[in-house]
């Protein structure tokens, strides 16, 4: 058990910057998820922590020790690979005990530990099987077992669930988080799946293009994305975003763009004026208010799709050149017909603003909301 710290860590491949000056501090016992689109440098970051890749610049600390030049075997970390990387010629017992045997742990102690881990992971009847004789889920558990048996300082996992089918994946998510909490091992978990990140992580670091864009607890990441990339990456469906300008010519200040006019919260006006003309306004699908009549807090639009998913319904509304998605209880959506003209509004306190060029969130004081909007531990863009 330990903390880990990445300090301005950079990885440059010939002609390609894979990881760009990232800073990350992992607390003792926490479950930190690194999430981002394919090719953004998640695996590279994890592999640098493991010692499988050299750091081009910057420092990596595990506990109080700078490990830049420490070989993987001496870092005391364990890793679960996407393809599990089980030793094909060794049976489950030998796979689980490999690291212990290399460390010359006494035979009886090895047996005890293997049996303990096998019991935890439901592997006891499979100890004599070779990896080819196991199902995908069983292999995955052996890979987990091989990592936890050593009681490492750090537990690293690179998309360990991506080879499982959808149902098993969801089931294993909870198993992994429960196991992690019980063992209390500091964990860095890599995935490209934002819903996996949101359900598993105690904190989440969103990466794109080799940079960390925001580090936050799931709730903050969802409510207050640090920039428009995070806003669009997190959540299904993602945050509705629209490029707008501030129009102060009327009696009420409005946001106009794409043929749509939205009333602007007074408290945001000052901050938005400071940003200048180009910015984007965003809101979550569940913060949309749909009603039969125009309440004044919105605009009219036409329904282009209604998707009833059972536990929720997604209504797509087209207004001007823009489309928005609203999330409603299925009972509410039943009354909405395709092609219908409806009033579409957003509660002003739920609006979020992003700089049009750099995408950074625009901070502003909220009048009535209980959760003030601030920038959460994000990196400068």
């Amino acid at each position: 058990m330990a903390t880990a710290r990445l300090e301005n860590v950079t990885k440059r491949y010939p002609g390609h910057l894979a990881v760009d000056r990232i800073n990350l501090s992992i607390e003792d016992g926490e479950f930190l998820v690194l999430v981002g689109p394919s090719g953004c440098g998640k695996s590279t970051t994890l592999r640098m922590i493991a010692g499988l890749e050299h750091v081009t610049e910057g420092n990596i600390w595990v506990g109080d020790r700078r490990v830049n030049d420490v070989s993987p075997r001496d870092r005391d970390v364990a890793m679960v690979f996407q393809n599990y990387a089980l030793y094909p010629h060794m049976n489950v017992f030998m796979n689980l005990s490999y690291s212990l045997r290399l460390r010359r742990v006494p035979r009886e102690r090895i047996e005890t530990l293997v049996n303990q881990v096998a019991a935890t992971l439901d592997l006891s009847p499979l100890l004599n099987r070779k990896p080819v004789q196991l199902s995908g889920g069983q292999r995955q558990r052996v890979a987990l077992g091989r990592a936890i048996i050593r009681e490492p300082k750090l537990f690293l996992m690179d998309e360990p669930l991506s080879n499982l089918d959808a149902k098993l994946r969801v089931q294993t998510r909870t198993e992994i988080t429960r196991l992690q909490r019980r063992l209390g091992v500091t964990t860095v978990y890599v995935t490209h799946d934002q819903s996996e990140a949101m359900t598993m992580g105690s904190r989440i670091a969103v990466m794109n293009d080799g940079k960390i864009l925001q580090i936050a607890v799931p709730r903050d990441l969802y409510r207050n994305p640090a920039n428009s990339f995070v806003a669009e990456f997190v959540g299904t469906p993602p945050m509705n975003l629209l490029s707008v300008r501030l129009d102060r010519s009327g009696s009420v200040d409005r946001l106009t763009g794409g043929g749509v006019r939205i009333p602007c919260p007074e408290s945001a006006v000052e901050a938005l004026e400071a940003v200048g003309q180009g910015f984007r306004v965003g809101f979550r699908p569940e913060d949309a208010v749909i009603s039969g009549s125009n309440t004044g807090a919105g605009f009219f639009g036409q329904v282009v799709a209604v998707e009833d998913l059972g536990h929720e319904a997604l209504v797509t509304v087209s207004a001007g050149n823009a489309q928005f998605i609203a999330r409603l209880p299925p009972a509410r959506a039943e009354q909405i017909r395709h092609g219908q003209r409806i009033a579409f509004g957003v509660e002003p306190s739920k609006l979020r603003f992003f700089d049009g060029r750099k995408g950074a969130a625009v901070a502003f004081p909220l009048d009535e909301s209980l959760e003030p909007v601030r920038r959460h531990g994000s990196c400068p863009l």
């Binding site: 075997r73 870092r75 970390v77 890793m79 030793y87």
Partner: protein, 281 residues
Amino acid sequence: MLGPVLVCIFVLVIAPLLWGLRISLTDSRMIGLGYRKGFTLENFQTILSDPDTWNAVWVTIVFSGGTVIGSVLLGIAAALVLDRDFPGRGIVRVLVILPWAVPHVVAALVWQWMYNPDFGILNYGLLLLPWVSATPKWLSDPQFALLAIIIVNVWKTYPFAALLLLAGIQTISDDLYEASAIDGAGPARRFLDITLPGLKRVLAIVVLLLLIWSFGNFVFIFLMTQGGPAGATNALVVHIYFETFRFFRAGSAFAMGALLLAMSIVLTSIYIIMLRGQDND
């Protein structure tokens, strides 16, 4: 398809074998011609009681064993080097494969010159070493002749082993090396625990083929020592050749051929059974 293939195998493989076995049971002097006794076990009695035969069997075993061990060790080393990415790898790859492409006759001539006790580059090089004062007369010394021939044969066959083993090494997933590195294995353990087990199948094929080939290898011995000096390199194939074409004892030559065949079959079977056993563990 099966029919014609079976016919071909019969005509080209089984029939000559049976015919050879038939000759081994006669007192024929030329191949298949002019025998008085149509069926006799005398050939087998003669060769089995002849120390020359047992010498030839021993030479064959040492020659084959030496070739296999030498080629495999050198082949693994070469494959490990070629698996690395380094500048000039293409050229090194060509150099490693080169001996395989050199015709046997050319190889024999070149090595004969290198082995020359007075003008050869080998002894010249040996004498440069500070602790070497006397050099062997390679091909004409019974103590060194077989070793010399084995070295030439290893030199000729190791590229084959290296190529197959390199292909085998490249099928081993990098993940396994990385997993074992994290688990705490150093380079030696990674070789023993990941590379070698991953090469098991390829290694089996390489050993089997090299074994069969060196059992029947005739060229280098015939060209360089002709079985001498004093029978030191007189492998079974060479012995058989001289029995047939120099001493005109076709019957006993074919009996020895049968012996060689039996040795090959036994060795191959043992080997295959061993592999089966390993797969099932």
